[in-house]
């Protein structure tokens, strides 16, 4: 999966857990304009959040 696919996958999972769809729609619209390292950072933050949320579910 590339960065954008990963982002979309994680956004779907986080939204299902109650995260803001507004925010991820916002990110999706500007995702291609982010440099690759920032795309990585964003995906890593989301992955970390998902891990933490799944631990307490």
């Amino acid at each position: 999966m590339n960065n954008k696919q990963q982002f979309q996958d994680l956004a779907g999972k986080l939204t299902a857990l109650g995260e803001s769809k507004d925010e991820f729609d916002f990110w999706l619209k500007i995702f291609d304009d982010l440099p690759e390292d920032k795309q990585h950072q964003l995906v890593a933050l989301m992955l970390d959040e998902l891990g933490q949320l799944q631990q307490i579910k």
């Binding site: 857990l17 109650g18 925010e23 916002f26 500007i30 989301m46 933490q52 949320l53």
Partner: protein, 186 residues
């Protein structure tokens, strides 16, 4: 108070109540920081004026203030606002602020620039017009930044009235820039 700081009431910074919300709130803040840094970096080489550079340095703080205000109020337009939606308000505030700085920095001294931005932040119609103008102005120089501004402007339009509500409901000490601390060029 140091230059560029804001009046701020820390008692109004409320943490979300559940563990899940705390995790989401922290993640949202981290993403907001990433957005603000990227936005300010992209904007930095657009205008070398001292006023513009100073305004850029304040931009991430503006986002924090709006977020803190929304957290403290916990609502918008009479409805409960989930803490994790604060990202969008913070991003909108930063984008709006930089757009106003871009438009006004060639026209005013630093103090007048801060006044102009402060005014813009409290009026959604003015903010939308300034953001449209800023996006058009930089579309050729920095198309990716123009798109970021347009995406944020779309959000402000959807949530029309948010800046006015914020200005009405937020205590003055939380929302206002410390204009007296900003030196003028005059």
């Amino acid at each position: 108070m140091r230059e560029g700081e804001f009046h701020f009431n820390p008692e109004l910074m409320q943490l979300p109540e559940t563990r899940m919300e705390r995790i989401m709130d922290t993640a949202s803040k981290e993403r907001l920081q990433l957005y603000c840094r990227e936005f300010v970096v992209k904007a930095r080489d657009l205008n070398n004026s001292q006023a513009f550079q100073k305004a850029l340095n304040l931009a991430p703080g503006i986002g924090d203030i709006i977020m803190a205000g929304k957290a403290a109020l916990g609502r918008e337009g009479g409805q409960k606002l989930k803490p994790r939606t604060r990202f969008v308000y913070g991003a909108a505030a930063v984008t709006e602020f930089v757009s106003a700085a871009l438009i006004y920095s060639g026209q005013y001294s630093e103090a007048a620039l801060m006044h102009a931005i402060s005014e813009t932040l409290s009026k959604s119609d003015a903010a939308a017009a300034v953001m449209k103008s800023a996006a058009a102005k930089i579309a050729e120089k920095k198309p990716e930044l123009a798109r970021m501004i347009e995406v944020t402007r779309d959000f402000i339009f959807k949530k029309k009235g948010m800046p006015e509500k914020l200005a009405e409901e937020m205590p003055n000490s939380l929302a206002k820039l410390d204009l007296e601390s900003i030196p003028t060029n005059e």
